[in-house]
């Protein structure tokens, strides 16, 4: 690994931007207008892009070096644990960093137009910059713990940005939901880290205390350590499997997979650039990145791989069905994102890491393009998001229309766009997979059906939005957006196209795709980069390719038939024919409601019960292992009122009664006192006699 300190520039430049616009943005905006804020907070991400590109070039120029490293200082060193504050750039993270800074910078530019005249302009850019910082930390982190910093950091920024327009409580709630659901995933991440730490030895092992051995959680170190610990089990489960599944729980949270996907549709409450950047292009792919990063772990456990692949495939199909009946354009895109993430997980789940990464990369461009196109439409529609109320915008917004069209081509897997190649690679790899707990054709079938549905709902959104009678808003036709917006759309669309050249399949070229070769150093040590024998089965591959083009075409055809120009009555009739089914899908299978009833409400109930228990029982009981409550109570009438309804306990009464009784004996009458004297003596005598009898003195 080569030391390259300037790696730190990549995350720190956006952080500087976040600090500047966070601390001074408000005044800058007041004084000099939005432009001043924009210069700072859009300029710095571009610089970061420059730095990332420079670093990547540097990495590539040093042929035999697999990674660049940059160590700042020792972060935590306790016992056998030694974690450095260190960045690490190999080809995977380099690709991620360049993609993130590029798409991120583009979206920053776009946001200048989108957030115009918003009083929180500076705040928005501060959060966005902060997000870039966190995301770059995530991908460049040299060890798991630092990755976790970025992992939670992006979650925080996502929370801040979803609830950006916090005055509407709905947005705030969506933000909170995202954070809490992600936190459940983080719980999995944390648990995974604990299992790994335990399983890989650290300084504590079954053999006993072994001082002086350092365990860094470093990605460079982990594979070596894992090879020694692959046989260990915890709770009867092998360590790699347990850790893999737990990390995947974390990935599910961040990348919105079943069962933790529920936050992502709600997250569309944020401004559209946020949806594009965070909830489509970058943050949500962090889970995929994590699995790819930990490839050595998953390769050691077919079970964990199966879990990843199956959950991915199921999500891909499941989300696609919901996407078909949504009317909010952003919701459609959100479910599409969930579905596409499922594809990526299948890719990394079956061990074809490069395919997953490739789809991640292409998806970043075309999905960002789709979202930003949708944003452009939404702006034009004055923040109307319901596709039922749109129509015919293609005529007035040509730029937006054609970029959206091209992105649709890409996502639906029609040839001539990058999506076709990346998706087909995943389908092909899934079909070929062997040795997992499920047959490859089954995964393929799920994805194949998903592809058809994808094509249908994406084109549905296209036709509903851009074809038909042009709508009027307040009596005026919507207008095309300014170049700052359309230009970004164009660049992204071009990106979505150009990227196909790095992924031309082996079946066409006879050589492994360029992207696979590029990532080969990262994944080679796993020994399972390819699951099928090279040079074989190209015929089948071509056949499957044809099939997926066909299913995409069918989806397109149906959408065209149903929705083009809004002239068809078929959708209505279908809806009438299957009302229940339609309700079920439109209401998203009632998953949110189920979670609410099964998890959220019980938790709140439990908390209320705990609180009641605390103030009534524990306080009541402990307070008095004694009559504290009661005795205090009578010190102050007001307290009495408060505590009387507390748990009444016998001891409390006893002490109080004893006090009163001791007082009552003091009658003021002398003969009673004298009787007390006599009685006391007699009692003492009896006591002594008893003791003597009992103890045998």
């Amino acid at each position: 690994m080569t030391e390259f300190r300037l790696l730190w520039l990549i995350p720190l430049l956006p952080l500087l931007g976040a600090f500047l616009s966070g601390a001074f943005g408000y005044r800058l905006q007041r004084r000099f207008g939005e432009r001043a804020v924009a210069v700072v907070s859009v300029g710095l991400p571009w610089l970061a892009f420059g730095a990332a590109a420079w670093a990547l070039l540097r990495l590539l120029s040093q042929g035999d070096v697999h990674a660049l490293g940059a160590r700042l200082w020792t972060w935590i060193a306790v016992g056998g644990l030694k974690v450095e504050l260190a960045l690490h750039m190999d080809r995977l993270s380099g690709m991620m960093a360049v993609m993130i800074t590029l798409v991120g910078s583009l979206i920053h530019v776009y946001s200048i137009g989108y957030m115009k005249k918003d009083e929180g302009f500076w705040r928005f850019f501060a959060f966005l910059n902060l997000f870039l910082f966190a995301m770059l930390t995530l991908v460049l982190a040299g060890n798991l713990l630092l990755l976790f910093v970025g992992w939670e950091g992006v979650g925080l920024c996502s929370y801040l940005l979803i609830g950006f327009w916090y005055r509407d409580l709905k947005n705030a709630r969506a933000g909170m939901k995202a954070f809490v659901v992600n936190r459940i995933g983080d719980f999995g991440f944390l648990a995974g880290m604990l299992v790994l730490f335990w399983g890989l030895g650290g300084s504590w092992s079954e053999a006993g205390y072994r001082p002086g051995e350092f365990f860094s959680l470093d990605f460079a170190e982990l594979p070596r350590l894992l090879s020694g610990a692959a046989q260990r089990t915890l709770w009867g489960v092998p360590v790699p499997t347990l850790a893999g599944v737990l990390f995947f729980v974390g990935a599910c949270g961040k990348s919105a997979q079943i069962p933790l996907y529920v936050w992502l549709p709600d997250a569309m409450a944020g401004p559209t650039p946020v949806s594009a950047l965070i909830h489509a292009a970058t943050m949500v792919t962090a889970g995929v990145y994590l699995v790819a990063r930990l490839n050595f772990l998953y390769l050691a456990s077919p079970t964990a791989m199966t879990v990843v692949a199956v959950v991915g495939a199921a999500t891909a199909l499941f989300a696609a069905t919901i996407g078909c009946v949504q009317n909010d354009i952003k919701k459609v895109l959100a479910y599409s994102t969930i579905s596409q993430l499922g594809y990526m997980f299948v890719g990394v789940g079956v061990g074809a890491y490069w395919a997953g990464a490739y789809h991640l990369l292409t998806h970043a461009f075309f999905k960002a393009c789709l979202f930003l196109g949708a944003g452009s439409v939404i702006l034009a529609m004055h923040h109307e998001q319901d596709m039922q109320k749109m129509g015919g915008l293609g005529r007035v917004m040509p730029f937006t229309r054609w970029t959206y069209w091209y992105a649709c081509v890409a996502i639906t897997g029609l040839p001539l766009a990058s999506g076709f190649f990346s998706k087909d690679e995943i389908l092909w790899q899934a079909y070929n997979t062997a040795g997992l707990g499920v047959p490859g054709w089954f995964l393929w079938l799920l994805l194949f059906l998903g592809a058809g549905l994808t094509s249908f709902y994406m084109w549905r959104s296209y036709f509903l939005t851009f074809t038909g009678q042009t709508v009027k808003i307040h009596g005026e036709e919507p207008e095309e957006q300014r170049p700052v917006i359309t230009g970004v759309l164009a660049v992204l669309a071009v990106g979505a196209g150009v990227l196909m050249f790095v992924g031309l399949p082996e079946a066409w070229l006879g050589a492994p795709p360029a992207f696979e070769q590029y990532l080969e150093p990262v994944f080679k040590h796993g020994g399972l980069a390819r699951v099928y024998p090279a040079g074989q089965g190209h015929g089948v591959e071509l056949l499957l390719m044809l099939a997926s083009v066909a299913v995409a075409a069918i989806g397109l055809g149906l959408a065209w038939w149903f929705y083009r120009g809004r002239s068809s009555a078929v959708p209505e009739r279908l809806r009438a024919a299957f009302p229940r089914l339609h309700r079920l899908v439109q209401d998203k299978y009632y998953v949110d409601e189920t979670y609410d009833a099964a998890v959220v409400q019980p938790t709140l109930e439990l908390s209320r019960a705990a609180s009641w228990f605390d103030s009534r029982i524990i306080d009541g009981l402990v307070n008095l292992s004694g009559g504290v409550t009661r005795l205090l109570a009578f010190l102050d009438g007001a307290i009495d009122k408060y505590l009387v309804d507390g748990l009444v306990n016998g001891l409390a009464r006893l002490v109080r009664a004893a006090g009163a009784a001791a007082r009552r004996w003091q009658t003021g009458r002398l003969p009673n006192y004298l009787a007390g004297l006599a009685l006391g003596t007699i009692v003492l005598f009896a006591l002594v006699r008893l003791l003597q009898a009992a103890l045998g003195w």
């Binding site: 056998g80 005055r167 409580l169 604990l194 609180s611 524990i618 007001a638 408060y642």
Partner: protein
């Protein structure tokens, strides 16, 4: 035995606040002569209060500079005979366990003194705590500081106990006189709970004293400060040495229970009340809700640390066998603290009460971490004390900010405050995030260390307690949502953002949260050698 460095620095740090206390007393006594007006007297008292809590802060810097983090023994000790009668010594010193807490104490006390100034409080608000009986208030604050510092520095059990009790009264008055509506109840509850603990400690202390037989070790280890040897000893280091050699195991059982165990339990309950550990925690919410802001700051920032500190200083080294016997129970208590209190938090309606319960939850980390007897666990536990000592004062200051303005703290009754108080909202966000353990901020380091350390030993328990991480996020975010987001409650449309006093107190704490999040090693390296020396013999006999 290596010779510890001697110095009177600690004595100066401990008793500097008392000088301020005496000065205030002098001012009050000579008032018939000097004829000072009430206003002048108040101003002078405030100046004395701030100055004499600033001096220990400066001296604390000196302490940090002169402390050698690589050594495991006591440093900067000051050692003289106090009372020959029971071989009681004046013996103070710091090691890695206490130095961080001493530094924390001087910092938080200074912040509390600043937070007691009436800047920014409406002029006509004569009932605000910062305007009521100022000399007495400042005197109590200074006395409290002396007590706290003394507890962390004392190396003689008797001295420890005296300082421990010295804290009791100022706290009682600070809550009882300057507190909220139900202050009397809260004050007396605090008083009684703590007293129950301390009398148990007293018994245990005397029992240990008589069980200690210095003759069992060579004379060298047991000479008093003046060179003579005693029959029994209160010296914590000597007691620890005896404990290491298993001397207390030989003492006869009490009421049928083995001596070390019953003493351990008595001490543990005494300290657990202070932590506070479920189910001995119910004094805390009341005390916090009623206490004025700076007192809450001290209570949460420092007083809660004394329980854990006491266990680590007394129980662990002196009664190692009993510690091993009890560690599973301690871990279970820790997990219960974390999860149970987190659930209780979720149902709270009063901001301060919520923060108080969150403190209970966060102190559970310490219990879990130290029960594990792993380097990560113990470091995590002690670091958690320091981190919580930075975060929770900020949280209580935050609660004070809103209470000063709105005169209530009911979360539900606010809404949309972010629009009116952006700076405040940002600091609340930062502190909440630090408290819920967001990576990159200080709370995360200690939580992660605790979990990493505890997991190898208590796998299931650690996973269960990690659930609190989720709940914690939920209650904090829900609080933010209810208070700061959504439409602005028009009733509070005129609230002002932070004033300078609040900035002065909150920003340093916020900066520390960030700094210790990325650079915790200066703190960890201060304590790591000591803590490892503390647990290594225990871990070895536990077969870990």
């Amino acid at each position: 035995m290596e010779h510890p460095t001697t110095s009177t620095l600690l004595t100066w740090i401990i008793f500097t606040p008392s000088i301020g206390l005496l000065l205030i007393g002098l001012l009050l006594l000579t008032r018939p002569l000097t004829q000072l007006t009430q206003a002048t007297l108040d101003h002078l008292s405030r100046a004395i209060g701030v100055f004499f809590s600033a001096v220990p802060l400066v001296l604390g810097g000196l302490l940090w500079a002169s402390f050698d983090g690589r050594a495991t023994g006591m440093q900067l000790v000051h050692h003289t005979v106090w009372m020959r009668a029971f071989n009681i010594e004046y013996f103070v010193g710091v090691d890695g366990l206490s130095v961080g807490l001493v530094l924390l104490t001087v910092l938080v006390s200074f912040v509390a003194a600043l937070a007691s100034l009436p800047w920014g409080i409406a002029r006509d608000d004569h009932h605000h705590f910062s305007r009521r009986a100022v000399p007495g208030y400042m005197a109590m604050l200074l006395l409290l500081e002396t007590g706290m510092l003394g507890v962390f520095c004392a190396l003689d059990f008797f001295l420890f106990y005296v300082f421990w009790e010295v804290m009791l009264l100022p706290m009682y008055f600070l809550i009882g006189i300057w507190g909220g509506p139900r202050r009397e109840y809260a004050a007396i509850k605090f008083f009684l709970y703590t007293l129950v603990g301390s009398v148990l400690m007293l018994l245990a202390m005397i029992a240990l004293y008589f069980a200690s037989d210095p003759g069992a070790l060579g004379q060298a280890a047991f000479t008093l400060a003046d060179g003579s040897t005693g029959k029994h000893t209160f010296n914590l280091l000597n007691l620890a040495e005896l404990g290491r050699q298993g001397a207390f195991g030989a003492a006869g059982p009490i009421l049928g229970v083995a001596f070390p165990r019953i003493v351990f339990v008595a001490l543990f309950i005494a300290f657990a009340i202070k932590i506070p550990m479920v189910p001995f925690h119910t004094w805390l919410p009341d005390a916090h809700v009623e206490a004025p802001t700076p007192v809450s700051v001290i209570l949460a920032g420092i007083l809660l640390k004394m329980g854990i500190y006491g266990i680590l200083r007394v129980n662990y080294p002196i009664l190692p066998q009993a510690t091993l016997w009890a560690r599973e129970a301690i871990a279970v208590f820790g997990a219960v603290n974390m999860v149970y209190a987190a659930f209780v938090c979720l149902a709270q309606k009063d901001l301060k009460k919520l923060i108080a319960y969150s403190s209970v939850s966060h102190m559970g980390f310490c219990l879990l971490g130290m029960a594990a007897l792993t380097p990560q666990g113990i470091n995590g536990a002690v670091l958690q004390m320091i981190n919580h000592g930075i975060i929770s004062p900020a949280l209580f200051l935050i609660a004070g900010v809103i209470y000063d303005r709105a005169h209530h703290r009911e979360i539900e009754r606010f809404g949309g405050l972010a629009r009116r108080m952006p700076e405040y909202t940002a600091l609340v966000g930062l502190s909440f995030m630090a408290s819920l353990g967001l990576p990159g901020l200080n709370g995360f380091i200690s939580e992660a260390l605790t979990f990493l350390g505890a997991f190898p030993v208590f796998t299931v328990l650690t996973i269960v307690s990690a659930v609190s991480v989720v709940i914690t996020a939920a209650y904090y975010l829900w609080t933010i949502q209810r208070m700061f987001l959504g439409p602005l409650n028009e009733k509070y449309a005129s609230l002002s953002d932070l004033n300078w006093r609040e900035r002065l107190t909150l920003y340093p704490l916020g900066a520390l949260m960030l700094l210790l999040g990325v650079l915790p090693m200066p703190v960890i390296s201060l304590m790591d050698p000591t803590l490892r020396a503390l647990i290594e013999p225990l871990a070895r006999s536990a077969g870990l």
